[in-house]
Symmetry: C2
Subunit: 212 residues, 2 copies
């Protein structure tokens, strides 16, 4: 923890709170000090709620035993929702990606959260992820299709390839997200690989409102 | 509290923690989410310490009954330090300014923290500050000199003027910080008011090492 030398705090409690905020990524000591001074001016009840939210977060949050996403209960709201199609599983890297897909309101299946992506540089191998648990889930026999929804980076492609090799013998459909020119993108500024792929994977033109 | 609509969190605890961080000034919901995800990956003991530091800060920090600065005890370390000159009082706006003066290691007197500055725009009048408590302190008879060390803004000047009028009848020395070209400043880029004042208040040239 970086510390400006000679900065003598008039209160140890103040210094400790500044130290804690400054330990967060992207927050320097000046910002930490500003945040702490803000908290000191707030209502004591509000600050108590802040402190408790942080403590409870780490102590009480758990991981869903089916999809391994962050949850308040042993089985998350999505996995326990009987309206969702449990034969269709979307494989994502983390809970942010679950939220991104949920926000589209286009997906009625369930998820499998890998908890990361294969990245030898960061020392993350297949055994650090929930890939073998995905295999076990599929062997139970309910899952018919797995959508690989990982980032289109080298690490994402490596992870896709690894999972594909593991799941292929299990005889289920393995799909991936459509890649192409994003809606609202100017063609001139679209990278050549995306544009090239979207020409190869071109689809029949349909009039607006007539597309499925 | 601004909230992106339709952002469905998989965990209420997660959402609460994000809400709390996003309520801090200058922290948006994306940054709040990033900070919370960081805390989830940290050691539970560390996160507990974070939460407790926040709660204890607001509950246990008090204000020194002499200088009204932030303190862990009813009388702060500076006011209870017998090596300091209690006849010399530096009047500052807040605890950050106490720390700024302390860091110069040039001041051996004590402080009086106003808790703000007169600012009609923000609805802060003299009665919101500790000015009358400063008068009482002076009437006790120990204080010989008061240094007004407020910002050189219109609000600072207004506050200086108000305090001067209140303290003048009490027969003590009232001084203010020297204003002039900052050390390291390039003359070309110094604003004309500062430069003009520093010409009017010019002092005798002394060779380095010979100045008092």
């Amino acid at each position: 923890m970086m510390k400006e030398t000679g900065n003598r705090f008039p209160s140890r409690l103040l210094e400790e709170a500044v130290d804690e905020f400054a330990s967060l990524p992207g927050i320097g000591r000046k910002t930490a000090f500003r945040l702490v001074m803000h908290l000191l001016r707030r209502d004591p009840e509000e600050v108590k709620r802040f402190g408790e939210a942080v403590t409870r977060l780490r102590n009480e949050v758990c991981y869903c035993k089916i999809c391994h996403g962050i949850s308040d209960n042993p089985v998350c709201d999505i996995c326990s929702d009987s309206a969702r199609d449990i034969s269709l599983v979307c494989v994502v890297e983390n809970v942010q990606d679950v939220m991104a897909v949920e926000n589209t309101r286009q997906f009625k299946g369930v998820y499998h959260v890998l908890g990361g992506i294969i990245s030898p540089v960061d020392g993350i191998g297949p055994s650090d992820l929930t890939i073998s648990l995905l295999e076990e889930r599929i062997k139970e026999g309910t899952i018919k299709e797995v959508i690989l929804a990982l980032s289109t980076t080298m690490e994402g492609d490596t992870t896709n390839f690894y999972i594909y090799r593991k799941l292929h013998p299990l005889g289920i459909n393995i799909t991936t997200l459509a890649r192409g020119v994003a809606i609202g993108d100017v063609l001139e500024y679209t990278d050549e690989i995306t544009l090239g792929q979207s020409i190869i994977n071109r689809r029949e033109f349909t009039l607006p409102g007539k597309s499925s």
